[in-house]
């Protein structure tokens, strides 16, 4: 019986090897496609899970860009190169920025702790109206120098994405650390202490 069926339809049973080869080839194609998709998914998961703004600043370890800016009140000019040998905390802020209000008390507390130890705090107003910036300072305090940055040229030189951003500049005039987003008291004091240790040590 089996013989009869096979004789009448040889193609029905014959090329079992061909079938197997075909299945193997199909599996290989599916494997390659699945592998490619997995690779793309992996690359995407890697790329999309990182905040592009948190990329390491290229300024770290480099000399901080020089600036000479007038104060907001217009009562003088601050030149970064005059501050060589001191620890500088450079804080970009704006009156319209909610996170700046959040971090302001921390700046005040750190300023109170380190103002007598030669640490320089500098605020730089970012994309703001001068009157709004002055009103903000009257409301929240902070009597370290606040600077006016015409044309945002200093912000551009420091690669500022938005506010608040804070740069810690060592006594050697190099950028030691950059914080994107609000700072808190612990971060301020630990970074300042590290840079002061370099002065004393």
């Amino acid at each position: 019986m089996k013989q009869a069926a096979v004789e009448r339809h040889p193609s029905a049973l014959a090329p079992e090897a061909a079938l197997r080869a075909r299945r193997r080839r199909g599996l290989a194609v599916v494997g390659v496609v699945a592998g490619g998709l997995a690779l793309v998914a992996w690359l995407l998961s890697f790329g999309l899970s990182r905040d592009p703004q948190l990329l390491r600043s290229p300024l770290l370890g480099r000399p901080a860009p020089e600036f000479a800016l007038p104060t907001l009140q217009g009562d003088g000019v601050v030149r970064l190169s005059d501050l060589r040998g001191r620890v500088v905390v450079l804080n970009f802020w704006a009156s319209w920025c909610a996170d700046c209000r959040l971090e302001h008390p921390h700046l005040l507390a750190a300023w109170d702790r380190y103002r007598e130890r030669g640490v320089v705090f500098l605020g730089i107003s970012f994309e703001d109206r001068r009157s709004d910036a002055l009103a903000y300072l009257r409301e929240l305090g902070g009597d370290w120098p606040h600077l006016w940055d015409p044309g945002s040229s200093t912000a551009l030189a420091y690669g500022v994405y938005g506010v608040p951003e804070t740069f810690f500049i060592g006594p050697d005039g190099r950028v030691a650390y950059k914080q994107v987003g609000p700072v808190d008291y612990e971060l301020l004091t630990s970074q300042i202490a590290r840079l002061l240790g370099e002065v004393e040590g």
Partner: protein, 205 residues
């Protein structure tokens, strides 16, 4: 004599190719006049990512910072800096993130190469498939394992239905109906086949 004609043909073809290439180059370079400052600013700005608005170029962003960046590009270009120098200054502050086009080296070479590779791979697959579907020559010289006992190349079902017509006519005029068993299985055949397959599985080996 024939060699001379062929050489002349090669010369003419080369000349035509060269002329075509020169025309293409001229077309790509555009009109030969000094570009205005505005055009140069736009060129630099459109290659820079606006820092405060993730996916707009500095040329397209209405934000105040982008406006100030354009002003600075204009100032630097007017001061005699090249486009490359102006770009490099922004890269020094922001890193390569600020460039909308990834640089063509290192890991960033990948997005430049992968699309081309995929395209080439896809074209290869397409060519291979088309040749497989349309090539009756495969029946004669192709893999023996795909040629069934009746001398037919098995075709996938989807190629069978509307199917491209075979390039050459059927190799031999169809034999009169009835001489060969009709295509497909009759009820009788199916029953026999099932029994055969079952008995294959049952036979102790």
């Amino acid at each position: 004599m024939r060699g001379g004609a062929r050489a002349a043909g090669v010369v003419v073809a080369t000349a035509l190719l060269a002329a075509g290439a020169a025309l293409l180059a001229a077309a790509l370079r555009g009109p030969d006049r000094p570009r205005t400052l505005e055009e140069r600013v736009r060129e630099v700005a459109s290659g820079l990512r606006c820092p405060v608005c993730q996916n707009l170029s500095v040329a397209d962003s209405p934000s105040r910072l982008a406006h100030e960046m354009r002003a600075r590009i204009a100032r630097d270009l007017r001061a005699g800096k090249t486009e490359e120098e102006v770009r490099a200054e922004f890269v020094r502050a922001y890193g390569e993130w600020v460039l909308l086009e990834p640089p063509r080296r290192g890991l960033s070479l990948l997005p430049w190469l992968v699309p081309g590779l995929l395209l080439a791979g896809g074209a290869g697959v397409a060519v291979a498939l088309v040749r497989r579907w349309t090539g009756p020559s495969r029946a004669a010289g192709g893999k023996a394992e795909e040629v069934s006992a009746r001398g037919e190349v098995p075709r996938p079902a989807w190629a069978e239905v509307p199917g491209p017509p075979p390039e050459a006519g059927p190799p031999e005029a169809g034999p009169p109906e009835g001489e060969l068993p009709p295509r497909g299985l009759t009820e009788e055949d199916r029953r026999l086949l099932e029994e055969a397959l079952l008995s294959l599985g049952e036979e102790p080996e």
